[in-house]
Amino acid sequence: MQVWDVLSRRRAGDDWQVVGSINAPDLDMAMLLARETHFRHKESDTYAIRRRGEGEVHPCPDPTGIGGIVDRAYRRQDGYVGVGAKLRRVQEQMAERGLVIDRPRPGRRPAGRQEAGRGG
């Protein structure tokens, strides 16, 4: 099985950078595996592969659709925008309900109720 280095670049005109490698028996399969293994989350607009030990770089012939063409926000950070704000909101709710566990933590000594590990 051949080893192929996987290459990426931030912008057109930048040098290709090695980002990893894959095993594949031929160029077509290498191109497909590189796309699925390294760019599934649309980490780059395009990519290339190079058979290890050889100089020829093979750019992806059709980079459209990298990362998928249907809504797959659940595969990307932008699918979880607002989780940090939700955390703060829920913490405020728990404080209002008196459920916060007040134990020594960095930058804050306990002021009120302490709870010593009710679980377990």
Partner: protein
């Protein structure tokens, strides 16, 4: 130049912050330590698919089913990337897989336990992936360059998984009393395996992985960061952890925690965890069942001719 001189020169490169490429000369003990560590990491990624995979059919909504499926796919992809890195250190993927399914090599302790409820999926996604992210971010500064490149690929995905787990957690803790209890119960069961995840306290000066810069931070250092990042968040959500001693000591500048007991940990290390044999049997069955795919894949050039 003698072997010892080359070895000393190699160590000086690492101490100076240089990165090692697969094609560079390296001492045998560096190659062996890096291979063992990366192989175990790869094993853990593919074995880590299994506890969560069991919950894909039982996910409560289509959105959760999609995101959990994508997460499991990511973990398998991490395994692909890491086995490739390990191969360049001199061991074939077939041999690594054979060693894994026959119990000759290890995978991380947390994947030897059963998942009993949807609350476990939230704990794995937030706290166990959180623990993994603490350790994996530290590897971004590892001395072995191909591993660093792999971690640059993997860490953003683990960060995404963390968001997924945090979102699940918030839904449960802000939901019904039963949902909160489900999450609390999961935290109670998983806390000890999470403490074990970082390994027993050890002497950094005797850690061969730290010596060669393959790991960059000690077990205890990483555990302390985990406490600082996650324990206050749990407490603010009204979720306790089953360690009555756990607290931050301002004067010492560190978290105080009680010894969780290490019998379970050593049982798991010996391959006797509650789910070890079941999960390895499943992996072996899948390996055998899909043998024809590998044969077709390897045979494509011959068929084409």
């Amino acid at each position: 130049m003698t072997y010892e001189e080359r070895r000393a020169e190699f160590k000086a490169r690492i101490d100076a912050g240089e990165k090692i490429e697969a094609s560079d000369w390296m001492p045998d003990e560096y190659r062996e330590a890096a291979l063992k560590f990366i192989e175990m990491h790869a094993n853990s990624e593919v074995m880590g698919c299994l506890p969560e995979r069991e919950w894909i059919p039982r996910a409560p909504t289509l959105k959760r089913k999609l995101s959990l499926t994508a997460k499991v796919q990511d973990e398998a992809g991490h395994g692909q990337i890491l086995y490739r890195v390990a191969e360049d250190l001199g061991k074939t993927r077939e041999q690594m897989w054979d060693d894994l399914v026959n119990g000759r090599t290890k995978f991380h302790n947390v994947f030897h336990y059963p998942t009993e409820s949807w609350g476990d999926v939230a704990v794995i996604g937030w706290l166990i992936d959180g623990a993994a992210l603490v350790t994996q971010k530290a590897l971004l500064d590892c001395s072995y360059a191909p591993y660093v490149r792999a971690m640059r690929r993997i860490c953003p995905e683990e960060s995404l998984h963390l968001r997924h787990g945090e979102d699940l957690t918030l839904e449960l803790v802000s939901g019904t009393a039963e949902q909160r209890e489900m999450f609390q119960d999961a935290v109670n069961r998983w806390w000890r395996p999470i403490m074990h995840f970082f390994g027993p306290p050890s002497k950094p000066e005797k850690d061969v992985l730290l010596h060669w810069g393959i790991k960059t931070r000690s077990n205890e250092d990483l555990r302390q960061e985990f406490f600082t990042t996650y324990v206050p968040k749990l407490w603010d959500l009204g979720i306790s952890v089953p360690d009555p001693e756990l607290r931050y000591d301002e004067d010492r500048g560190e978290w105080i925690w009680s010894d969780p007991g290490w019998d379970d940990f050593w049982q798991v290390v010996r391959g006797n965890g509650p789910m070890t044999k079941t999960r390895l049997l499943y992996r072996k069955a899948m390996w055998d069942h899909h043998g024809w795919v590998r044969e077709v894949f390897a045979g494509i050039p011959r068929v084409a001719v």
